[in-house]
């Protein structure tokens, strides 16, 4: 069973619909035991870093997520919260990845948030090679710099991490649940992990 972590994230319903379209069984839950028992865990996210971390800490979900051993996929804010720290309201995050999350500082009048379809350049092989150079949908103002765990790079203002991977932790900055057929391939890349 796939567990989608239930918390105050804005895109849980969209993620649920995307899984339904793929014919995947899942449960949306904030029960520690159900999350720990799941075959795979999806950690969605749309919102603000500090209030979301406070919410997770309040329910002790921070510790649960960090210690999961099965494949875990962080999406958007979920990916940012997997890092050590976010500049968004100076928030200490989960620390699964050692990176700090930074605010885009436009150099040539680029607009922030980075909103719309942008392309992926894969650097590690956890994602289906079929998505290399494909377009996916982004909405975010903060980014994870390129680092040793970067699995895909996208360029906006500067090259940043559009996907990460470390051990059993996978993460994407974009919204696979809103990224047409390429997004479906990304979700399946994760769902096919053992």
């Amino acid at each position: 069973m796939i567990a989608v972590i239930k918390y105050n994230a804005g895109n849980i319903r969209s993620v649920a619909f995307a899984l339904e379209r793929l014919g995947i069984d899942f449960t949306i839950t904030d029960t520690h035991e159900e999350i720990q028992r799941a075959d795979k865990v999806i950690f969605p996210g749309v919102g603000e870093a500090s209030s979301t971390m406070a919410y997770l800490r309040d329910r002790k979900l921070d510790k649960v997520i960090k210690e999961l051993k099965q494949p875990v996929l962080g999406i958007c804010l979920g990916m940012q919260l997997m890092c050590a720290y976010s500049e968004e309201n100076n928030t200490a995050c989960l620390g699964i990845f050692e990176e700090s999350v930074k605010l885009f500082k436009p150099e040539h009048k680029e607009k922030v948030p980075h909103m719309g379809w942008n392309s992926l350049a894969l650097t590690k092989n956890w994602l289906d090679p079929g998505v290399d150079d494909g377009y996916v949908y982004f909405v975010h103002s903060y980014y994870v710099p390129v680092n040793p765990y970067t699995a895909a790079i996208t360029e906006y203002v500067l090259p940043f991490s559009s996907a990460l991977k470390k051990d059993n932790f996978y993460a994407v900055q974009f919204h696979p649940e809103k990224s047409a057929t390429i997004g479906e391939k990304v979700l399946l890349s994760f769902l096919n992990k053992s």
């Binding site: 607009k111 980075h114 719309g116 649940e177 990224s179």
Partner: protein, 251 residues
């Protein structure tokens, strides 16, 4: 590279798409879910669904429709029409809408923008502005363009952005329906003025018009309705043309 977006707009009345729609390969072109899914397959980057006869009575029908759209469609979509309060928005977002567009209600009480941005995040809030040039001033109109307001396009767009709107959807009423091209000058000025994306609307008649909106008007996205609905300009053809003309486009 971040690409320019092509956005078909569907007008909805009582849960059905209005305007004559002339598509092959669709079982029911009056069904917004079918039509939206077809656009997504053809390469639309986003969709807008406008409840043009929004009343309290049919609000539920629209929310149910939004649920069906969200279940079926795998690209982002905006819903709008008759939204006047946070209470109107919450069920739409819960139903799975990615963004909501607000128009007349924001002109009447601008703090609605602040409230929505604070409650749901700026990325959920599209400020739609209908404007027409009167005595050389771009004057904002409300109620489907029927009522002039005291607001002017550029100052209102800037105020909307400062209050937390995530995008501006600018429709030139002078160009809407003419098929003579988008309002390039005000688009360029909005782009200069704002740090948030601008969606061009009104006047699309052929593929060159989109090219002008992106290259000269510096729009981040362009929206059209009948041009797509009547099959006059297929989206794949438009996108290929733009790409070959050097515009960053998702194919």
């Amino acid at each position: 590279m971040l690409t320019k977006r092509i956005i078909p707009c569907l007008d909805i009345k009582d849960g059905r798409t209005v305007k004559g729609i002339n598509f092959v390969n669709i079982r029911d072109a009056g069904d917004p879910v079918e039509l939206g899914a077809s656009y997504a397959l053809q390469g639309a980057d986003e969709l807008v669904f406008l409840d043009i006869a929004a009343t309290n009575e049919n609000r539920k029908t629209f929310v149910n429709l939004v649920k069906k759209i969200a279940a079926r469609i795998n690209i982002p979509f905006t819903v709008g029409g008759g939204i006047s309060s946070i209470e109107d928005v919450a069920p739409l977002l819960e139903a799975g809408a990615d963004k909501v567009s607000i128009n007349s209600a924001a002109v009447k009480s601008p703090t609605l923008i602040d409230q929505l941005a604070k409650a749901f995040g700026s990325q959920f809030v599209v400020l739609a502005i209908d404007a027409r040039k009167i005595h050389n001033q771009w004057t904002v109109h409300t109620h489907g363009g029927s009522k002039p307001s005291d607001k002017k396009l550029f100052s209102w767009a800037r105020e909307g952005a400062e209050r937390g709107a995530g995008e501006i959807l600018f429709t030139s009423m002078d160009h809407d329906g003419t098929k003579q091209g988008f309002a390039i000058d005000p688009l360029g000025k909005l782009n200069e003025l704002l740090q948030i994306p601008v969606i061009a609307s009104g006047g699309a008649g052929n593929r060159q018009h989109f090219l002008e909106a992106f290259l000269l008007g510096k729009a981040d996205a362009a929206l059209a309705a009948s041009l797509f609905h009547f099959g006059e300009l297929p989206i794949p053809e438009l996108k290929l043309y733009l790409k070959n003309s050097g515009v960053p486009i998702r194919i």
